[in-house]
């Protein structure tokens, strides 16, 4: 299964400088395991220690937010486009 991973600008320096890479895996968890093995520096920004998705990372498979598709168990099909989007948050507090 080969899908496309779109990498946000802020993570590109630690992920070979590319804006997209081909990835393998039939679930988001498998894809991110493959990615973090290749680029260990980004692991902490993508996954928690228990293997769940980082709170401040949004992951989309095509137009669907994976938090509604089972998170790391969300299925990935051939030619799917997976987009990583670090959350944008803050506030006066």
């Amino acid at each position: 299964m080969s899908a496309v991973l779109r990498i946000p600008t802020v993570l590109r320096p630690a992920m070979g400088g590319e804006s997209t890479i081909a990835v393998e895996g039939s679930t988001i968890g498998a894809v991110l395991a493959h990615v973090t093995e290749r680029y260990p520096a980004v692991k902490g920004q993508l996954l928690n220690d228990d293997g769940t998705l980082h709170r401040f990372l949004n992951v989309y498979v095509n137009d669907d937010d994976v938090r509604y598709l089972g998170g790391v168990d969300a299925l990935v099909s051939d030619r799917d486009e997976i987009t990583l989007l670090p959350a944008v948050a803050g506030g006066a507090q």
Binding site: P8, T9, V10, F56, N58, Y60, D63, D65, T83, L85, P86, A87, V88, A89, G90, G91, A92, Q93
Partner: protein, 141 residues
């Protein structure tokens, strides 16, 4: 330096006022040189007067639009409802991209105070906000 037209500035402030009592927020779409082409309002999915979070659907849509139009997401704006237009420790800690412009809108004063900052590795630097003409181009004397 951030180049922002009067209309865009009004849109920022109006978005934040409309979000009251919560913090208002949105994204800035434009050029890598810091010229804002469009202000993209977002729901504050944190739904709080103390914290904000950009709606992930708005993030996705805006990044795709940036790719389609040859623009960049060049920053984010949000309001402080009762405090100055300066990044809080939370803003600094959670700043997602060192290349971005961070615009703060304080609604604690009237008229609203709008300021822009760069946040790089925890260091905050205020930058000039340059008014643009109605075409979005920098004013030429």
């Amino acid at each position: 330096m951030l180049t922002l037209s009067a209309t865009q500035r009004d849109t920022l402030v109006a978005t934040c006022i409309r979000a009251l009592p919560d913090e208002g927020c949105g994204l800035l779409l434009g050029t890598a040189e810091g010229v804002v082409e469009d202000v993209i309002a977002s729901p504050n999915v944190a739904a709080s007067a103390k914290v904000y979070e950009i709606d992930p659907k708005v993030l996705l849509r805006t990044f795709r639009r940036a790719d389609d139009e040859g623009l960049v997401v060049l920053g984010v704006f949000h309001s402080h409802t009762h405090s100055p237009a300066y990044p809080s420790p939370t803003d600094i800690r959670q700043a997602p991209d060192p290349d971005w412009h961070y615009v703060l809108v304080s609604l604690a004063v009237v008229p609203a105070d709008v300021r822009s900052y760069r946040i790089v590795e925890g260091e905050v630097t205020e930058e000039e906000v340059v008014p643009a003409g109605v075409t979005g181009q920098e004013l030429v004397d």
